[in-house]
Symmetry: D2
Subunit: 307 residues, 4 copies
Amino acid sequence: MPTILGQNQYGKAENRVVKITRDGDTHHIKDLNVSVALSGDMDDVHYSGSNANVLPTDTTKNTVFAFAKEHGIESAEQFGIHLARHFVSSQEPIHRARIRIEEYAWERIATSEGNSKFIGADEVKHSFARKGQETRVSQITYDGENWEVISGLKDLTVMNSTNSEFWGYVKDKYTTLKEAYDRILATDVSARWRYNWTSDEQRMPNWEKSYEQARKHMLQAFAETYSLSLQQTLYQMGSRIINSRSEIDEIRFSLPNNHHFLVDLEPFGLKNDNEVYFAADRPYGLIEATVLRDGVEPKIPVDMTNL
Amino acid sequence: MPTILGQNQYGKAENRVVKITRDGDTHHIKDLNVSVALSGDMDDVHYSGSNANVLPTDTTKNTVFAFAKEHGIESAEQFGIHLARHFVSSQEPIHRARIRIEEYAWERIATSEGNSKFIGADEVKHSFARKGQETRVSQITYDGENWEVISGLKDLTVMNSTNSEFWGYVKDKYTTLKEAYDRILATDVSARWRYNWTSDEQRMPNWEKSYEQARKHMLQAFAETYSLSLQQTLYQMGSRIINSRSEIDEIRFSLPNNHHFLVDLEPFGLKNDNEVYFAADRPYGLIEATVLRDGVEPKIPVDMTNL
Amino acid sequence: MPTILGQNQYGKAENRVVKITRDGDTHHIKDLNVSVALSGDMDDVHYSGSNANVLPTDTTKNTVFAFAKEHGIESAEQFGIHLARHFVSSQEPIHRARIRIEEYAWERIATSEGNSKFIGADEVKHSFARKGQETRVSQITYDGENWEVISGLKDLTVMNSTNSEFWGYVKDKYTTLKEAYDRILATDVSARWRYNWTSDEQRMPNWEKSYEQARKHMLQAFAETYSLSLQQTLYQMGSRIINSRSEIDEIRFSLPNNHHFLVDLEPFGLKNDNEVYFAADRPYGLIEATVLRDGVEPKIPVDMTNL
Amino acid sequence: MPTILGQNQYGKAENRVVKITRDGDTHHIKDLNVSVALSGDMDDVHYSGSNANVLPTDTTKNTVFAFAKEHGIESAEQFGIHLARHFVSSQEPIHRARIRIEEYAWERIATSEGNSKFIGADEVKHSFARKGQETRVSQITYDGENWEVISGLKDLTVMNSTNSEFWGYVKDKYTTLKEAYDRILATDVSARWRYNWTSDEQRMPNWEKSYEQARKHMLQAFAETYSLSLQQTLYQMGSRIINSRSEIDEIRFSLPNNHHFLVDLEPFGLKNDNEVYFAADRPYGLIEATVLRDGVEPKIPVDMTNL
C-alpha cells in the first residue's frame, strides 16, 4: 500500500452541557462546551471501515452528560480529567484521550428591594445573566500514565488608553509608519498556560483558584506595564503569571494589536489631542510568543492560541 | 417610465469611533459603532446617476469623527441627536436623518496593591477590559421638526434555572411535546424602547440613567416572574419598564427560547433530577411582542428587534 | 391596566429540514431553514400565562418536518404556502401565519471517468457539494384571505472592476474625498421582491423559474450598467427585474459599498495603475432603496433587506 | 531571570489585497487575505521593549501591497514565496518567515444577449460574482534554506445522500445509538496537503493546476466511496490525492460529521423512507487524520486543519 495512516483522532465535539446544582433555594450553574478526541488502535476503521474498535462518537456524547450527573462539575479541568481517565481506562483500543472544554461564566441577577410585591417571587436565587466577557478554556490529555493540562482564556478585550509608545524600529524601503510616543494599546487576549501537574501521584492544583489568580495577574501586568512594544507587554504578562503561580510552567499568547488610529481632524480645523480614534478591523498586528519557567521544556503548540 | 423609486436612504455604516476623555490621569472611554442613513431629494442620483444632491458617505464618516471632537460623546443618544440635526439642518436636499449606534461597555481593570514595584506604573487609571455582555443600541431619527429616539439592547443572555412551567396548551395531530412543571427558562434579550421625547421644546431625558434603570427593571422582572410561558415573562418585563419609567412609552422584544433539554439518563441507570441539561442551538422558539403605555400608538417596526 | 399588548407573534424558528427525493438512483436535495411566526388571539398568554390558545412552538416544528413528507418541497414558496394555510385554517385562535425560509443550493459532484475501478461506486448520482454562493430567501404571509409572498436573496457578492465613477457630489466643510473616474464597484446584494400573486383565485407563479430569472436579470443589470453612483446601479437592477418579470411589482435592495481603496504605492517608487486594491471592512457605504412598478403601493418594510 | 522567552513570531495579519490584471478589456481578479509572521533575533523587544530588530508590522503590510504590483499574483503559493524570501533575505535579524494566505474565488457574470440596448455596456468582461464555496488556503514557510508549502481548503460542504452505513461498533454502558444501514454522510471539508517541493533547486509545482486536481480527486473519492465509516471515507480521500499527485506527500483532514437525523414521523402516522432529515448543529462527530505517502515523515501539525 503506497499510502499509510498518520496521527488520527475522533470523538464528539461541542457537547453543550449545563449543570444546575441546587443548594436549597440557591442554584449554581456550570455551563460547558465539551469536545472529546480519542486515539488508539484505529487502523482498521480507516483502511477497511471496520468499526470493531470504534466506540461511537454518540457514546462519547452520552458519557459527557452521564458524567455531569455521576461526578458533578467541580471545575472544567476536574471534569475533563474524569472523562479522559474513563475513555482510556475502559476501552482497550483507546490509548489517549484529549478533552477540550470551553466554559461560559454567569453572574447572579440582583433583584429588587421589596420584590415581594411582584408576582410569585421570593428572594430570587436562581436567576443569572451570562457574563459574556472571556471564554475560559481547558485541554486535558491522558495517555494512561501521564496527564497534560493546558488551560487559559480567549476573547478578553483590554485597552490601555495611554502609557504605550512605539519607536526606534527598523526602517526599510517599504516603511512609512510614523513613530508614536503616546498611543492606545488594545488587544483580545488569547492565552494558554500549562500546569506542571502530570501524574496522579502529585497534589492536584485548585483549578478554580488558579484560573482566577492567573487571570488577575495577567490583567494587572497588562495595566501596569509602561509599554514600548506589545511584545514587551506580552512578556510581562506571561512572566507575572509564571512568577506568581508555581503550578504553571509555561504560557503562550496570541495578541492581536487592535489598532486604534488617531483620526486626522486638521482638514476640519480641529486638533486631535489623543482623543478621537478610529478602531480598525483588518489588517491587525499579531504578536505571539511563549513564556517559560527557566529550565522547562516548551510543549504548547504554536497555533493552540489561535483555535 | 414604468418603474419608479420608492423609499430610499444612504450613508456610511459602522463608523467605529473611540473617544478618550482625560480627567487628569483618569481616562474615560466611549466606544461606539455609528451608522448614518440620509433621505431626501435623491431621485436624480437613482434615475441618472447625478450626484448633485449627494453628500458623499465618506463625508458622513468624517462628520462622525469630527463631531466626537466638537461635541464630545455624552451619551449615544445625545451624540446621535447632534449628528441627525446637523445633516438635516445643513444640507437642503436632506429631509431626514437616521443615526443608528451600537455602544460597547468597558470596565476598569483593578490594579495590584503596592504596584509601584512594577515597571513604570503609578496608580493605573487608564486600563480597561471590555465588559462583553449586552450591546447597547440606539436609533435617533430627525425630519427637521420631530425626533424619534428608540434605544435598547441586544445579546443579553439570561436564565432562570427554575420557576418556569409550560402546560395547558393546544394539542393537535402534530403535537408530541410533554408538559413541563419545572424547566429552565433562558433567552438572549433583544429589546427596543421608544422615548416620548419628540421635540426640542420638551425636556430631554437623562439617557445614561434611563438606560441603566430600564435595564435593571427588565432584569428584575425577568428574575422575579414565576413563568407559565415566555410570553408572560416578556409582558412582565415590558410592563415593568413602562410602569417604572415615564419617559418610555413603548417597548418591543424578540426573545428566543434558548431550549435547555433535560437529558434522559435512564438508559444509564441514572436519575436526572433537573440537574443535567443539553443546551440546544436550533431550532428555537421565538417570542416577539410589543408592550405599550395604554393610549399610545405603536411605532417600533416588527423586525427592529431582529437587526 | 396602564400597559397593553401590541403586535405579537411566536413560533419555532430555524427548523433545518433536508428533503431527499429519489428518482431511481438519481437523488434530489431541498435544504431549507424554516421559521414559523403565528399571530392571533394571544392576549391571555401574555397577560396571565394561560396557554389555552397556544399551539406549542414544538408542534410548529413537527409540522414543518411532517409537511416535508406529506407535501414534498416543490419550492420554498410552495412549501411555505402549505404551512401558512395549515396553521391559519386548522387553529381557530391563529389569524395570521408568516413563514420565513432560507434555501441553500447544492450542485452535483462530477465523478471520475472509469470510476468503476474505485470501491463500490457505479455512476454516482447521490453526491453533492453545497454551492455556497447566495442564500435564497422567502417570506410567505397568510391571513386566511390574502397572500403576500416576498422572495429574494442575500450575500451575493459581486464586483465590477471598471465602468464605475463617482464625482460631482456635494462638498461641505467635512468633505475630503477625491473624485474617482475609474473605480471598483463591489457589493453584497441583499434583495427582496414582492409578487403580485395574492389570492388562491390567481394563477400561481412558477417560483423556481421566477427566482432564476430575477437573479439573472439583476446580475446582468449590475454587469451592464456603466455606473456613476451605486444608487444608479441599484435602480437599474430593480428596474430590470420589474420590466422583465410581470409577476413582480416591487423590489428592495440593501447594497453595502464594499470599498476597494487604491493603494498608494508612490512611497515605494511604484505606480498603481488601477491594479492593487485594499479591500476594506468597515465603515462601508450603505445604499438602500425600493423600486416599484408605477402605480403600485410599496409594502416591503425598510429593514427587511437587513435581516 | 526566572522566566525565559520561547517560540515567538509577529507580523501583520489579514491584509486584504485585491489585484486586477487587465488583458485588454478582459479583467482577471486575484483576491487574497495575507498574514505575515516573522521570527528571529527578537529577545530584546520582549525583554526590554527595544525595537532595534523589529521591522514594523505596518511595513510587512506595505510589502504585501507593493509586491502585488512588483511581482503580480500568479498564485497564492508563488506570491507567498516572494514574500517569505524577501523578509528572510533582506532583514538580518529575521531568520524565518511564515506567510498564510486565504484565497477567494470569483466567476464571471454571464451577460445578456443583445445587451447593447442597455446603458453604456459593450460585451462585459469585468464583472464577477464571488463563488462563495470553499476558501483556498496556503502556508509558505522559509528559513533561508528550505521551503515548506502546505496548501488546502476549508469550508467545502459535501453530502452523500446514500451509500453510507454505520454498524458493528463497540457498545459500552453509555451506548444507545442504533446501527444505520443507509444514512446521509455530510461534512465540511478542511484539508491541508504538504508539497515535497522544499528547495529552489527543485522544479516548482504548477500550484494552480495542482490545487484544481487535488480538489477534484478528493471530491471524486468522497462521491465514489461506499462508506462504512467517515474514517474510511477520509482515508480514501487522502489516499486518492497522494496516489494521483506525485508532488504531494502528506494530507491532513478535519471532517465534522454533519449529522442529518432521520425524523421520526410515526407519531403523525407517516413513514419516513429516508426522505426527511433534521440537519443538526451541535454536537457533531469530528474525525481527524493524516494520510501519508509511505516512508515519508509527517509534518502537518495536528490542529492546522482547525484554524
